[in-house]
């Protein structure tokens, strides 16, 4: 196992390294070092980090399974989580839900994530139908309107009265989400609130941000009691790999995660088995260009400081064609979707066609059914 190839995605666009020693070498080459742990990373921080140059993906060995194994063969110890990243996001924990705090841009971006997911789902129908769970059939955030239906309606106890909660298309099946690198739960919480959601699970290796997520959830007793949302303080490697489609999810999300991952390819391979046939991996990240360096590193972090310094490692940014090229080689995955978004100060996040080539972008890829 140790002889298996491991991608070295750090700066310099090195292609493949052999095993753990190769991995270590790549660390040495990079200006930052530390453990050979890789990143899984906490959600949010809307941009960043490096991947080698595009050659990496274009030369990727299509035998994807061959490099998904841990570098040292110790399955249980292997992780894609980078401790430096964990430390960085620990420090940000307390301000995660401050609407004017360092995570503001993520909060503002969050609705666009849902819009992108919807556009992906619209592009290809979900294949399966699963039984409805009556418990979560309500669109209400606070629960069904109960006796209020009988309320004032002196006149006609009509249509809406008896069925006040069927706001959503009850015929559509409800979705299961797995949010890897959920951070403070900005996306996970919002996904769980949707009436179209059956369940949402947030996973993050950083204990303090996950505590923030739990704490924030507790302040919405309605959502908490719905049982739709749960958090796990772990990394993807520690999650038991699902054996049946029932255990798999419809939407696996990696929002602002991949750019914090040192070795994206094996990490993505870890994620793949969690997705149902017909389900999606949805991610957002940022292209590695001079523009993104200027906007995310220089302007956002250094100049105006809307993003905490050190959030991003530009060298880990991944370009859309690199992701596209890599997924094109994965058997059983396709229907790639993308959408570039640009943050315009004073206005907010806007979809900008073509900006996926030079800035923040969403990327969706569907598992064939």
């Amino acid at each position: 196992m140790s002889s298996r190839k491991v991608p070295c995605l750090l700066r310099g666009g090195r292609k493949w390294c052999n095993g753990p020693s190769g991995a270590r070498r790549s660390f040495a080459l990079s200006s930052r070092k530390t453990s050979s742990a890789r990143i899984l990373n906490p959600d949010n921080s809307f941009a960043t980090k490096s991947l080698g140059n595009s050659k990496f993906y274009t030369t990727t060995n299509p035998r994807s399974h061959s490099f998904s194994a841990p570098p040292n063969g110790a399955e249980s110890n292997y992780t894609t989580v980078d401790p430096r990243e964990v430390a960085h996001f620990n420090a940000l924990a307390s301000t995660w839900w401050d609407p004017h705090g360092p995570s503001r841009l993520l909060h503002l971006m969050n609705p666009l994530r849902h819009d992108f997911i919807k556009s992906c789902l619209d592009s290809a129908p979900l294949p399966f139908t699963y039984p409805e769970t009556p418990a979560s059939a309500s669109a209400s955030v606070a629960g069904p309107t109960a006796s209020s239906a009988a309320s004032s309606a002196t006149s006609e106890p009509s249509s809406a009265g008896s069925e006040p909660t069927s706001a959503s298309n009850s015929s559509a099946r409800k979705l299961k989400y797995l949010d890897i690198g959920c951070g403070g739960g900005i996306f996970t919480e919002s996904a769980a609130r949707l009436s179209s959601t059956l369940s949402a699970t947030g996973v993050d290796p950083t204990p303090s941000v996950l505590a923030v997520a739990q704490q924030h959830l507790s302040q919405d007793p309605v959502l908490q009691r719905s049982g739709k949302l749960k958090y796990l303080n772990t990394s993807i490697e520690q999650l038991p790999v699902p054996k049946t489609d029932d255990e798999r999810v419809d939407i696996l999300t990696l929002f602002e995660v991949i750019e914090h991952i040192e070795h994206p390819a094996p990490f993505l391979e870890k994620c793949m088995p969690f997705v149902k046939p017909g389900g999606w991996i949805i991610m957002s990240t940022i292209a590695r260009t001079w523009t993104s360096w200027f906007t995310t590193k220089f302007v956002a972090e250094d100049l105006i400081g809307i993003v905490p310094r050190g959030t991003h490692e530009w060298e880990r940014y991944i370009n859309e064609p690199e992701l596209r090229g890599w997924f094109a080689k994965q058997p059983g995955w396709g229907n790639i979707q993308n959408q570039g978004v640009v943050y315009v100060p004073g206005i907010g996040w806007k979809e900008v066609q073509g900006s996926e080539q030079w800035g923040n972008y969403f990327f969706g890829v569907r598992k064939d059914d």
Partner: protein
């Protein structure tokens, strides 16, 4: 009529449908009861735990009812658990009725945009449109110089309605009927808000039953019922308790003017009782109707058309003048209304010094005053009994319309001088914006009470309302003077505006709510 639910329990916060079962042990309920008894129980008896709602709207006026209608009629938001709290007994609104030749004195001017919104949410069909009057011309002139501006649409444009005059009770009754039809909400009328507090973490002996309502507004009603609000909407008027709870300041000034209202009958028009058209608002095949407003140094006086030979008066004037007008006999009062549109401001000032006998004074003075009959309203012939009332005029704007789990709409957010007929319409625009904001939040899984979710509402409405309040305020101040140079300038101003088609069009489109959103 009311739907105060039977003793609800904490179980109601569960997402499960109709969770009528109580899963709190008796000891927990007792301890909870004590907790509340110690803080707020008015009667000292055991208190229910707060029942959790997505939206609690305080205030059952046009703004509150419109918001509920909007939320209940939209597919996206109809799943929200909503409650309406109102101090008055709304059954009186439901059963409100007047003969067709009588009109309430509280009438609002609804712009086509507001009517469009009411149609969109399905409420307009519940409005008795035979009682609604459209107008498509405005005559506005300066009471000192006579300088005139007439706001009719340029020939060639298809008939455009500037606004619809609609009794507030006709509107609220229609909204209630619409809500009754929709159902699915909790109506707590006849309920006074005793206090609003910020929630905390309530823990019970069983760990499962802790309830963290930190930061949630808890509304306590006179009945002892408590409601926890994910989003608390203050549609509770100019003295909004919700605004006070949120610690939001409201700034502005009193105009030291009162608005005198009355329902007036006019000469030369007839009420077509055969018309029961429910499709064309103000239908009645009525000839083009015009709204009249004259700027006097004491404030503007306006006569706005109602169906048939009726009109509603809004006369902004000094509090002492308002008091005198209210004390006059009907004949003297009617004479004063005619005088307000015909005589000079000097004559009017004198007439306000008489405690009676205005009728004779006015008819004598009219003979010696030149006025253009084509530009003034038909002569008033009578005033409906009991409709002469007055209220103080104020300009206020809250510092912000949103707080954590709080949003203010309508008069709770802003009050304005009635001279432009925009007060209720601004409230309707608030409702549209807030409903849009809530819809977006629900669609995107946001907590609808979080300040971040509400930002767009405040951003959309604060600046727009502030601008409208400012414009109206400036107009009031510009005309509330007889200082000669200013009078000369404003005369030039109105005269100039009248010559400028595009500018006039802009003003009219603003009045009709069809122009570029301010």
């Amino acid at each position: 009529m009311r739907t105060i639910r039977p003793a609800s329990s904490l179980a109601s916060v569960s997402l499960r449908p109709r969770p009528r079962t109580t899963f709190i042990c008796h000891a927990c309920i007792r301890s909870l009861g004590k907790r509340y008894a110690s803080t707020s129980a008015p009667t000292g008896s055991a208190i229910e735990a707060p029942e959790i709602y997505d939206v609690v709207c305080v205030g059952g006026g046009p703004a509150g009812l419109s918001l509920l209608s909007a939320l209940r009629s939209s597919k996206v938001t109809s799943g929200l658990k909503v409650a309406l709290v109102e101090g008055q007994d709304l059954s009186r609104t439901r059963t409100w009725q007047l003969p067709r030749d009588q009109f309430s004195n509280r009438v609002s001017s609804l712009t086509p945009a507001s009517v469009g919104f009411l149609k969109d949410i399905g409420a307009w069909k519940h409005i008795d449109t035979a009682r609604v009057q459209a107008y498509d011309e405005m005559q506005v002139w300066d009471g000192i110089t006579g300088s005139n501006i007439s706001f009719d649409w340029p020939t060639g444009s298809t008939s455009k309605t500037i606004a619809y005059m609609c009794e507030n009770l006709n509107l609220t009754r229609g909204l209630l009927a619409h809500l009754d039809e929709l159902g699915g909400f909790t109506l707590l009328d006849n309920s006074r808000v005793e206090k609003i507090e910020t929630g905390e973490e309530y823990s019970f002996s069983s760990a499962d039953n802790s309830l963290n309502l930190t930061g949630w507004p808890i509304v306590q009603l006179s009945s002892g019922k408590q409601l926890a609000a994910r989003l608390l909407v203050g549609a509770d008027g100019a003295n909004s308790p919700v605004r006070t709870f949120a610690g939001i300041e409201s700034r502005g000034w009193d105009y030291e003017r009162h608005g005198v209202v009355a329902t007036i009958s006019l000469e030369g028009l007839e009420l077509d009782l055969s018309d029961f058209s429910n499709t064309v608002p103000g239908g009645a095949g009525k000839a083009t109707r015009t709204a009249y407003q004259r700027f006097l140094p004491t404030g503007p006086v306006a006569l706005l058309p109602m169906p048939g030979p009726f009109a509603t008066l809004v006369w902004s004037t000094l509090p002492s003048h308002a008091a005198l007008l209210k004390s006059l006999s009907p004949t003297d009062f009617v004479a004063m209304v005619n005088a307000a549109f015909r005589l000079s401001h000097v004559d009017l000032a004198y007439l306000h010094t008489l405690s009676s006998g205005q009728l004779e004074e006015v008819s004598w003075r009219e003979k010696h005053t030149a006025f253009d009959v084509a530009k003034i309203p038909a002569r008033a012939t009578g005033v409906q009994d009991g409709t002469v009332q007055s209220f103080p005029l104020r300009m206020r704007n809250a510092d912000t319309y949103t707080g954590e789990r709080v949003a203010l709409v309508g008069d709770a957010a802003h009050t304005t001088h009635p001279l432009a007929g925009q007060g209720l319409n601004q409230g309707q625009l608030d409702i549209q914006s807030l409903a849009r904001t809530i819809t977006y939040a629900v669609e995107h899984g946001q907590d609808i009470g979080a300040q971040l979710s509400l930002e767009s509402y405040n951003a959309e409405r604060y600046a727009a309302n502030n601008l409208m309040l400012g414009v109206v305020d400036k107009i009031h101040k510009l005309y509330a003077t007889s200082f000669a140079p200013v009078v000369a300038l404003r005369s030039l101003g109105l005269g100039a505006v009248n010559q400028l088609g595009p500018l006039k069009r802009f003003f009219m489109e603003q009045a009709a709510g069809t122009g570029k959103r301010l």
